[in-house]
């Protein structure tokens, strides 16, 4: 039963993930992204990791994709439909994919990524408590690093969205000159 569900959900995730990339209409892409996220949440449920499942839906499906949609709607959809994949992005995408496959293979090769022994069955409440405890002690460094990575990404986005050079005070000055 669980296996069947796993394959159904996995197939759903793969198909919708592919459609996210392949859709010409960005809104369709975003909607398939939600489907993919919900599917992943379902996989977490199958693993009895309810906390992760719910957080997956809450954060990704509930908030992140809403922001995506928000941005898509404010953009000129007609214009963005014309964007065709460039060589650079194709190459970069393939490279990233290759890296990821390599990393996973390396993990398995090193033996670190093998199936963990079954955890003792605990109540979910204790599980989520343990989850938090581990996150803030054992994996503290990784957690902080990811945090910095996200911060860097955010700063980069702000820089790019500002157009790289023009800053607000300058444009104000320009306006003043025009006014005079």
């Amino acid at each position: 039963m669980e296996d069947i569900l796993f394959y159904i959900f996995s197939a759903g995730i793969l198909v919708s993930a592919f459609l996210v990339v392949a859709s010409r209409n960005p809104v369709n892409g975003a909607m398939f992204l939600i489907v993919a996220f919900v599917g992943i949440a379902a996989l977490f449920v199958l693993l009895e990791s309810f906390f992760l499942a719910v957080i997956q839906v809450l954060v990704y499906a509930g908030a992140v994709v809403v922001l995506f949609l928000f941005v898509i709607m404010l953009l000129d959809v007609e214009g963005s439909e014309k964007i065709r994949p460039r060589v650079l992005s194709v190459v970069a995408g393939s490279l990233a994919f290759a890296l990821m496959v390599l990393g996973v293979l390396a993990l398995f090769a090193s033996g670190l990524g093998g199936p963990e022994p079954d955890l003792p069955i605990q109540t979910a409440a204790a599980l989520s408590r343990n989850f938090g405890y581990e996150l803030f002690t054992k994996y503290m460094l990784a957690f902080q690093l990811i945090g910095f990575l996200l911060l860097a990404a955010m700063v980069g986005v702000i820089y790019i969205s500002k157009g790289g050079q023009s800053t607000a005070p300058q444009s104000v000055k320009k306006g003043e000159e025009v006014a005079q």
Partner: protein, 361 residues
């Protein structure tokens, strides 16, 4: 495989959906009546039901109270012509009402509404019930976004954009505002977790609203925003945006949005009651007088419902008292007032609990 538990669960679910939808329908009536009374009007008082309406005094009274109005409204939604504008995106246009409706209905699965012999009366007593509730209700925003976008018309679009921005903004404050409550409920050694039932049980002596008034206030405000109720009804804003995201909808599709909105209110009031108003606990400092067995279950449920209806009334009372915020005011309130306040509240509570834990216990 034994199908009986599934069947029972199904029957329970259908029953609960039916009850909540009826409550939502009468919430619509209550809204109209309260709006009327506050404005010196009568509200709906004409709709009569063929047989019952002719009973000498009772029928007349029920008619004057508008008790049959929701029936007429529902029939109207079903039988009205259903126009579909020519230039909508059909897939999302049809999808949007469902997407708005389903999460609203799903959230009720984890909401406990009573207690019987120490066991919760709830469809699914999840340990992470609160998180589930937040997760599912956060999906409701897609209904508004898709409705606004697919209608291919400017007012719904603006409504959709505003609604999505508002819901994201207040979700944060909402999530942060309930954490102190859970922090206190999860006293050292207790196994409360994120279970809504356990939260209620932890309030048997003291309601959380008395202990955590700031959290309760932030949660209340965020709840208003999340349910798009009047001081925050950015997506609809009928004075500015015609009817906001559902401008292009008619008939039962509009009805779905409508029912979803009021279901949100009812469920939201339930959550507020569970988290801060002590659920079905009698009064602060007083032990619950509910006897054992199903009588106790019914009584606790009724007591719970009474609290919920009070909160629903409060929702409506606020709606017909306060004017709508401007969009930038909504954003400023969310990001620069509620969010820092909720954060500070959380941090201070955490520090206090840590100190309390280490030094006094």
């Amino acid at each position: 495989m034994n199908y009986l538990p599934v069947l029972i669960a199904l029957i329970k679910a259908v029953l609960m959906v039916a009850v909540v939808v009826v409550i939502a329908a009468y919430a619509v009536l209550a809204e109209r009546k309260i709006a009327g009374w506050i404005q010196g009007r009568y509200g709906p008082n004409r709709t009569a039901f063929p047989v019952i309406g002719y009973i000498p005094i009772l029928g007349k009274m029920l008619t004057r109270l508008g008790v049959f109005q929701p029936v007429a409204d529902g029939l109207k939604f079903i039988f009205k012509e259903d126009p579909i504008p020519g230039h909508v995106n059909l897939v999302y246009y049809f999808l949007a009402p469902c997407v708005a409706f389903i999460p609203a209905m799903t959230t009720m699965a984890v909401l406990p509404f009573g207690e019987m012999d120490g066991q919760p009366l709830v469809l699914a007593n999840l340990d992470i019930g609160m998180l589930f509730l937040l997760a599912v209700s956060s999906l409701g925003v897609y209904g508004i976004i898709l409705a606004g976008w697919s209608a291919n018309s400017k007012y719904p679009f603006l409504g959709g954009i505003r609604g999505s921005a508002q819901m994201i903004s207040y979700e944060l404050a909402m999530g942060l505002s309930i954490l102190p409550a859970f922090l206190w409920a999860n006293a050292p050694g207790s196994e409360t977790g994120m279970s809504l039932f356990n939260v209620v049980q932890s309030q048997d002596q003291l309601w959380m609203v008395i202990w955590q008034p700031l959290s309760a206030l932030i949660f209340l405000v965020a709840l208003f925003a999340e349910t798009n109720r009047l001081p925050f009804d950015m997506p609809e804003a009928e004075t500015e945006l015609v009817a906001g995201y559902n401008t292009e909808y008619g008939s039962m599709k509009f009805g779905l949005f409508f029912v979803a909105e009021y279901t949100h209110i009812v469920i939201g009031s339930g959550v507020l009651t569970v988290l801060f108003l002590g659920g079905w606990n009698f009064f602060p400092g007083l032990p619950s007088p509910w006897p054992g067995g199903w009588v106790g279950g019914v009584l606790s449920t009724l007591w719970f419902l009474l609290k919920v209806f009070t909160v629903v009334f409060f929702f409506m009372w606020i709606r017909w008292t306060l004017p709508r915020f401007r969009y930038d005011q909504v954003m400023r309130l969310g990001w620069t007032v509620l969010l820092p306040l909720a954060l500070a509240n959380l941090v201070l509570n955490a520090i206090f609990i840590a100190l309390f834990d280490n030094w006094f216990v």
